[in-house]
Symmetry: C2
Subunit: 331 residues, 2 copies
């Protein structure tokens, strides 16, 4: 019998269609191939990207080699950094200028294709870089929200394979974020507690959906997973904004992120995936009701008409089965 489960955060129903009987091996992807063509993100090609915004480097000057992590504007930005929003109507419709920021975090000078090829220490530096850029951009009062995300593999929307992340800053709070905040606010008003903090208590005590459980972080398959092997990482201590995490707590996050991704890569043979850092909006810090987290979405199934029409997802792999598989996979 299929089951309908409700995501408590965004209040989205999901169909867990257990009887479709998918096994993890149904989703194995073609092995990722490293191409040998020209790559603008590799060390030595610094002049092939727009000038850098930030770099962690051991030597030399800006836009030269010798860096470890490097941030540049996206060469084809979705939003432009200059000017004001110029909000206006066009008959019944609302529009504004597309201002914001669109940056690329080049994670390494070498041409490697997976974040898990980095040491945990290097991943910590990448996470610190996310944090630095968000803390800089949130000072700009024109901007409402900053989203850090990662596309891996062409079906997940990546156009370059050299491992990188992106940051998009928008002048309005996105709809999904508003939806999450509304769900968390309602829970807080009713219970007087953070929804995610309750979720951490239930998940660690049940254990059936847990993938990695460390002192400070929990990686688990959410109860109403939309997708097979969807994985969330949450800090156990309440904090609404990713970018206010102190540096000394990012090392452990780096280790949990690396292990979570390595388990997915081993289970699914290097799937295409996205991860997305969900954090409270700019100017809304230290909220009791919201809790930052990372959502990792392996791109294994296709989104069809039903999902587009309803926002309902059909997931053929129960999260308990996915979690068990991920816990037992060889690393």
């Amino acid at each position: 019998m299929p089951e309908l489960r409700k995501d408590p955060v965004i209040r989205r129903w999901v169909i867990i269609a257990t009887e479709r009987g998918a096994r993890p091996s149904d989703f194995k992807s073609a092995p990722r191939v490293i191409s040998r063509g020209f790559c603008p993100f590799c060390e030595g090609n610094e002049d092939k990207t727009p000038p850098e915004i930030l770099a962690y480097r051991s030597s030399r000057g800006a836009n030269e080699s010798g860096w470890r992590v490097r941030v540049v504007p996206n060469k084809f930005p979705a939003l432009a950094i200059e000017g004001g929003p110029d909000k206006r109507g066009e008959g019944m419709y609302d529009l504004m200028r597309g201002i914001g920021a669109h940056e690329v975090i080049i994670e390494t000078p070498e041409h490697v294709t997976s974040l898990t090829d980095h040491s945990a220490e290097h991943i910590e530096e990448i996470l610190w870089c996310y944090s630095e850029r968000l803390n800089d951009l949130k000072n700009d009062k024109r901007f409402a929200y900053g989203l850090v995300f990662k596309n891996v593999g062409s079906v997940a929307g990546a156009s370059l394979e050299h491992t990188h992340s992106q940051l998009i800053v928008t002048p309005v709070i996105p709809r999904t974020v508003n939806g999450e905040m509304a769900g968390c606010r309602e829970f807080f008003q009713y219970h007087g507690r953070c929804l995610f903090c309750d979720m951490i208590v239930q998940e660690t005590s049940s254990g059936s959906r847990v993938v990695v459980d460390s002192d400070r972080y929990l990686a688990f398959e959410p109860f109403a997973s939309r997708f097979p092997f969807e994985t969330w990482i949450v800090p156990k201590q309440h904090r609404s904004n990713f970018e206010t995490t102190p540096r000394e707590e990012l090392g452990e996050l780096a280790r949990v992120l690396k292990e979570g991704l390595a388990r997915l890569e081993s289970a699914l043979e290097y799937p295409a995936y996205n991860y997305i850092v969900h954090s409270a909006p700019f100017g809304q810090e230290d909220l009791d009701l919201y809790h930052w987290h990372i959502e990792i979405i392996p791109r294994l199934t296709k989104i069809a008409g039903f999902e587009w029409g309803t926002g309902f997802y059909i997931n053929p792999v129960p999260p308990e089965r996915a979690a068990e598989f991920l816990r037992n996979v060889e690393l």
Copy 2:
């Protein structure tokens, strides 16, 4: 300069990234190939599907040849038809049994792969079939919503190429529908008019986003199109539910749907696409505030981390340019 546009219905912001400079020819798909393998939907193979629920036939008995349109239960249903919802909690989480209906409308006995290969008269019969099934299923008080949709091409989630549609009936109102209803309700409360009726006035008077304009129906590219060549078809006369459309108005809808799809197929060389009939929930008929419509989504771009994280879409083709292209395409 990119533009941010707000969808007035679901209040979703979309980035119209004109400067990415995509042309319609950037999206041309590989021509659709008709496979010669075994097809369970072809005439003569009636015993390869579950027994039919409804068929329009000129002769013989149920589950034999001689039919024109045939409805069968999905062999791998996402939801099961028997039993009650059995709503319950699991700690902080909500769940229920996955009851509902999942049917397949086999549109024709011949192995054709596009709806546009049918005559308008035959498409009218398919639309009438949608209507009959919805009117039957809405009598079941366990069910809250019925969604008719179509997946064409494997990237749009189709697993069989023989042209067919699907119907999924759910025991809860889906999130996207609630979002649309909320947007329309707010507009109605403020203006005392239907949002879609206003949209029809603005679109027909501006004309820049119109694709097909007939007496009773308008096909146009929505102001805040999420995707290149996204196309909506709306009835000009206010009606909240698709399934209450009288038969004599479906012939013209069939002609507009056929022409709209034919223009997309000509412009984009038979793209994968979904269409979705958006209608008011079961038990909510003759609503002043909601207006049924069909959304056609060609599947040309990939959904990446930014879209998943925010519900924001980046569309590289302004709807005005898409509409002009579709109006001028050769049929």
